[in-house]
């Protein structure tokens, strides 16, 4: 028997925001009935604000609780704030989840990401990170997802990876491969490498430009903002916020959150984004 917190039991017994938002403009569907849990999240986004959020879930008690908690956490929040919610935040909101059930919180975060991507119409790009190569055939988990979740949650063992992503929890044939991936992720934490090996400065700047163009600017433009790349000095990426973003009290969050996260994820995990404040 699982030891669920009172909050988990409360959300399981009295789930909030069940159903589907009428005229939703953001829909995220993740998981599958084959794997044993699935979540459909529907949102109404209005002027950059999540005005309504509802869910339907197929899954165990903690999957239901995590989905219910997620809707509570994002309702009334700006997209910007919501997009920074992690699986750890969901588990924390519930007063913790049993380790073996952490994948329920990961599913919540993924549904939110999928819904936001759907809203932004960049489904393909945002999901690119999870394309990669399928490592765990039983639960269709890719190497990219394993690496991403390992980094985000500081996971070092196969067991932890299984708890958070299910990978390795089926036939177990992929366990050696997961070990290799963990080795790759944590090998000499100091000497972190960008995906695809070390980049020259020219390559790095090109990649940064690409990422800003494809991954960041479309998002800012939705909210009437924009940004410009000013310079790259060692690992500092200097950007200038423009349009609605300029002088916005959340621009610092945008730089650190969105810009830096994307650059770290897709170019080099040691990059730092700094805002160039015009004098």
């Amino acid at each position: 028997m699982w030891e669920y917190s009172e909050k988990v039991m409360d959300h399981y017994e009295h789930p909030r925001n069940v159903g589907e938002v009428q005229n939703a403009n953001a829909v995220g569907e993740v998981g599958s009935i084959v794997c044993g849990d699935a979540l459909k999240l529907t949102l109404k986004i209005d002027g950059g604000l999540i005005t309504d959020a509802r869910f339907k879930t197929f899954g165990c008690g903690s999957a239901i609780a995590a989905a219910s908690a997620l809707t509570e956490m994002i309702k009334g929040r700006s997209l910007e704030e919501a997009s920074r919610i992690t699986n750890k935040d969901i588990a924390g909101f519930l007063g913790g989840l049993p380790e073996e059930k952490m994948h329920c919180s990961v599913m919540g975060q993924e549904a939110l990401e999928a819904a936001i991507a759907d809203y932004r119409g960049v489904k393909k790009e945002v999901h690119k990170e999870d394309e990669g190569e399928i490592v765990c055939k039983c639960f269709s988990v890719t190497d990219q997802k394993i690496k991403r979740v390992a980094l985000a949650n500081n996971l070092h063992t196969v067991e932890e990876i299984t708890n958070y992503t299910k990978a390795g929890g089926g036939c177990g044939a992929c366990i050696p491969k997961i070990e290799d991936l963990l080795e790759e992720v944590w090998r000499g934490e100091s000497a972190r490498k960008a995906p695809g090996g070390r980049l020259t400065m020219v390559q790095k700047i090109k990649r940064i430009e690409e990422v800003l163009e494809e991954e960041v600017r479309p998002i800012l433009k939705r909210d009437g903002g924009d940004l410009e790349l000013i310079d790259v000095v060692e690992n500092k990426v200097i950007v200038r916020m423009m349009g609605m973003c300029q002088g916005c009290h959340a621009s610092e969050l945008t730089t650190k959150g969105l810009v830096q996260e994307k650059l770290r994820e897709l170019v080099d995990p040691t990059l730092e984004a700094v805002e160039d404040v015009p004098g």
Binding site: E29, V30, E100
Partner: protein, 395 residues
Amino acid sequence: MSQARVYLDNNATTQIAPEVLEEMLPFLRDKYGNPSSAYSFGGNLQKDLERARDRTAALFSCHPTEIVFTSCGTESDNFAIRGLVDAYPEKTHVILTKVEHPAVKNQAPYLRKKGLRVTEIGVDRQGRLDLAELAAAMDNETLLVSCMLANNETGVIFPLEEICRIAKEHGVFVHTDAVQAVGKIPLDFSRLPVDLAAFSGHKFHAPKGVGGLFVRRGLKIRPFLIGGHQERSRRGGTENLASIVGLGRAAELAAGRLGEEATRVRDLRDRLERGILRSIANSEVNGDPEHRVPNTTNVGIHFIEGEALLLALDKQGICASTGSACASGSLQPSHVLRAMGVPFTCVHGSLRFSLSTYTTPAEVDYVLETLPVIVGRLRELSPFRSLREIEAFGA
């Protein structure tokens, strides 16, 4: 809402019968001697030990010397398989089924490591063993087929007579894990030619931590627990006398309940099962309804997940079990249901109810009132109501 406990998980374990407890108590209080001792305070207890053996043998229509007491069903299964494998090192092949309890199933890696070949025979959609596959798997290296009598999850009974006949034709020994059959269906080892059979006290109203192995007279087998001369040197260790006495009494009670009482339990089970199928759309029975122990039903409830069901039932005081992955922490649904090819729409939503002689009609009615409400609530939450919705999901 009533909060009395309704215990319908008797395949997991059972309550100790009051008559059993009564007979055990003196052995936990005053009669604490060691049956191996030379003085009467201990030595006289041999009589109680042998009486328990007689009563157990009577349930199986076998000779008392064919009963070896052990600590549990798991030990008995280990004893049977390893004891036989060690006694016949020249034989290199063992056959199991895909639906064995972990007490048998998880010996496969051990046997393989020892250099043996292990073949696991499959079942059909109803959980019936593929006898043709079984016969085809036997060759002259085959030592043993270990095949459960009744399945703990579905209650499906394997045709052991037929299996023995096939095995004997090939000179292969038969061990049966009878843990879930004892006390539920008649067992007659004077007619059924199995070589070994495992049983466990706590599945038929004796305490936990006592079981036994039927070993046919003349069978060559190595002890599993090597030690003193107890159990005619086949199982070392000072006897757990109080529990063995309890097991003997439970065997006697079980023998008296195989007739009319089994029919009463079967009728209750059928009433529960029919009621569920009638009141819950998209539900179906997992397992061959014709060849099943009378106390067990396993129903697949489509589009919802089993652990969520159990949590809700628990809130209403109902104890049942599920083959869902989430309840066990294994991430994979039950290996039994997977071996049967239960569709993915309900493999995560299986519920097992297992009744006992103490189950009442009122308890069954209470479940029938409660379950549809719970299922309705969880289906409201589910994104799936049909195969079409499943196919469209995430596309």
